[in-house]
């Protein structure tokens, strides 16, 4: 039996060998005016304003806590968000937020496609801002294309230099605003300006300046096409009823010139509205042709809708040849059926339910969480100590957390073991048999607690102990559980 040569195995033998990587095609998005462009400007202004201004908003928390509304205080292990203060052990709220964010993303996608990509994503917002500056300095699409194709003169160099300088300034400001979320903003601004900030702050600013400048100025759509996982996930999550920016090919095809269309129309022949003017492609920030249907590159910003509406108005045809629509409706119109819109479907109900459930659970947790906690750790070695009079002693490390911004005094008691002696190393004072523990504002305090019990305890099972703290003023309680162990219970 003869073995075939390797080429005869190859099913693609007769195809040309394509390069594995496509060279980037420079995109020159054209400016456009219209509804969606206006929405994008508004969202851009609002989101950037929030980002740059938020660290400077003050929020009074009393004398023992910082007064910055939004602050992640790494050295002191606290995070503040207006009236909420989070300790490190409560970082599960962050998990909840991430679940909410994911579900909100899925819900947006099920309702109207890539709203996040087109309007809200920082990559989109900053790229939009950088493009606006580019347009302001270097002119619109045609002008820039001509200049880039022409010789590299001093004037071209000066314009490019100006553009990159502004980009870098914005990038630097972006990085600078980021670090303000991690320290007292006004103080830090002053420190940074007088070169007294920490190396961490300067390095963070440098890194974020670099990423902002590179992502929004240089890489732009490459991030969406190659770096971002969401387009891949989004394509798998969408369905036929999700509204997407859609070219209505039922109305648009066959494409032909205005003149030819007018002639055919007067002859009563079927005519498409698309005149193949390429305006939808010219304005696209990622350089895709929406008429090819939904693609990974389309971030669904709606700018092609604005561009096409403009053209339709000029040739006296109805607007929204490109619109938020579904393929289902195109097919229905082609068979003479009315449009259907189904925003309430099993998946949107599910997403909304998960959002409500997780959000509700988090809100409930937040409202009912205790302002003080107590944790108890039994000494591991030795588990029990026999005293000279034969009694058995167990030792515990108890940590009491006061999560309020005022010092508090707690009454400490241990329940569960009758006739036992409770000693606390370093307790302030006892009155009428009660032990008082004071914990500073927003602090924890560790105590060593000793419990001594008679030697004739014959119980075989460890005895459950309840370590209770009661706020001396308002009576709120917190309880921690552990066990008392004797030689009989240690095997």
């Amino acid at each position: 039996m003869s073995v075939p040569t390797s080429t005869s195995f190859d099913p693609h033998a007769d195809e040309p060998d394509l390069p594995l990587y496509e060279a980037r095609k420079q995109i020159y998005p054209q400016s456009v005016k219209g509804t969606y462009r206006r929405i994008k400007w508004i969202i851009l202004a609002v989101t950037l304003a929030i980002y740059y201004v938020l660290p400077f908003i003050r929020w009074d928390r009393g004398p023992n806590a910082p007064n910055q509304a939004v602050l992640i205080d790494m050295p002191h292990r606290r995070a503040y968000f207006f009236f909420i203060e989070i300790w490190p052990q409560e970082v599960y709220y962050l998990t909840g937020l991430l679940i909410l964010a994911a579900m909100a993303l899925f819900l947006m996608n099920a309702l109207a496609g890539r709203i996040w990509c087109g309007y809200l994503c920082p990559q989109t917002v900053w790229t939009d801002l950088f493009m606006a500056i580019e347009r302001l300095i270097e002119g619109d699409r045609r002008e820039r294309m001509q200049r880039d194709a022409g010789p590299f003169t001093v004037e071209v160099f000066a314009l490019k230099l100006l553009k990159h300088t502004f980009w870098l300034l914005i990038a630097w400001w972006t990085g600078g605003a980021w670090v303000l979320y991690f320290d007292d903003a006004p103080t830090l601004v002053l420190q940074l300006l007088t070169f007294q900030g920490t190396a961490t702050a300067y390095i963070s600013i440098l890194v974020l300046t670099f990423t902002t400048y590179t992502f929004a100025g240089l890489m732009r759509e490459q991030i969406c096409l190659y770096a971002c996982p969401w387009p891949r996930i989004q394509a798998a999550l969408t369905d036929e009823h999700a509204l997407n920016v859609t070219y209505r090919y039922d109305r648009g095809e066959q494409r032909m010139s205005v003149k030819k269309a007018a002639a055919l129309r007067s002859a009563g022949e079927p005519v498409g509205d698309c005149i193949d003017c390429q305006q939808c492609v010219a304005v696209c920030p990622t350089g895709v042709d929406i008429r090819n249907g939904p693609t990974l590159g389309c971030i669904q910003c709606g700018l092609c809708i604005d561009a096409c509406d403009d053209v339709m108005a000029k040739i006296n045809r109805p607007a929204r040849l490109i619109a938020y629509d579904t393929d289902v409706n195109i097919k229905r119109r082609q068979s003479g059926l009315p449009n259907i819109f189904k925003p309430i479907r099993s998946r949107t109900i599910l997403y909304a339910f998960v959002i409500a459930a997780v959000g509700g659970l988090m809100a409930y947790q937040l409202v009912t969480r205790a302002p003080s906690t107590i944790t108890v750790i039994h000494d591991r070695n030795p588990v029990y100590v026999k005293l000279s009079d034969g009694r058995i002693r167990n030792a515990y490390t108890v940590r009491i957390a006061n999560m309020l911004n005022d010092p508090r005094t707690f009454v400490f008691s241990v329940l569960g073991l009758e006739q036992s002696q409770v000693d606390i190393i370093g307790a302030e004072h006892a009155s009428q048999g009660e032990l008082f523990i004071t914990v500073g504002p927003d602090q924890t305090r560790e105590l060593r607690v000793l419990i001594t019990h008679a030697s004739d305890d014959k119980r075989e099972a460890p005895v459950a102990l309840y370590f209770e703290i009661r706020d001396d003023l308002d009576g709120r309680r917190a309880v921690g559980k552990d066990f008392f162990r004797t030689p009989n219970t240690v095997h």
């Binding site: 003869s2 591991r380 070695n381 100590v385 026999k386 000279s388 009079d389 030792a395 060593r448």
Partner: protein
Amino acid sequence: MEQKTSAPSGHANGSADPSAPAQSGVGTTGHSWDGIEELNNPLPRWWLWTFYACIVWAVGYWFVYPAIPLVSSYTKGFLGWQSRAQIEVDMAELKAMRSGMTTKIEATELADIEKNPELLSFARAQGSAAFAVNCAPCHGAGAQGFKGYPNLNDDDWIWGGKAEDILTTIKHGVRWEQDSNTRSGVMPSFGRDGILNRKEIATVADYVLSLSGLAVDKGADLAAGKTLYAANCAACHGDAGAGNQEMGAPNLSDKVWLYGSDKAAIMERITLGGGGVMPAWSNRLDAATMKSLAVYVHTLGGGK
């Protein structure tokens, strides 16, 4: 099968021409094994230059840092850098960082350290770390002790359980000959030196058991034991066996036994006598660390 083993078949195809671009547009190296050819894709230039730069950088290392082993030494490098010197710098930094608290510890009485929550928690933390390094090999990680090495959690103290007593023991050790102020007091070897015979030792051991209410052998002569005890043991351990911390004579009437509470263990102690040894730490640890250790041990629970 025979086709696969016939090596020249690749050559027979005539496709191993280095100059002819293959499908990828890249020439081959001209080698062919069983018809499999190798594309000639040299390393990218930037990669090579990075590699060369790394070599140059590495040569620089030889001169700047310790690098080449010699017969009895090694090349020191221009910077004179040493990992040991680095550790010393780090330790000095650590010491400077803690100096605020350590000077306070040094200046404060032991009792007052325990009354001040801030000093107490610092001393306990520092004491706990120092204990793990210096004391745990004998006394155990949790200070639980072993046979012959006292449990420091309980309230039975051979040399005194007040914080000051504990500090003295740490400073000067127990039966540590190099330190003139060491805790001293040695139990005679009653059996080995022939002071008591084996029967007498058994008799006195029964009496010692009875002091703390432990069960004794049937037919034990406690009266004879008491006489022997009064003659040989009571001088140090006291008439009722309450012990004497001045000379490190343990309390024999309580429930805590350093070497075990069975008769054989007690007879062994009477026969051999002697006592455990603990080093003096005043030459090895600084004053603040020893004070922290004393506070830590005192606040384990058994401190007086």
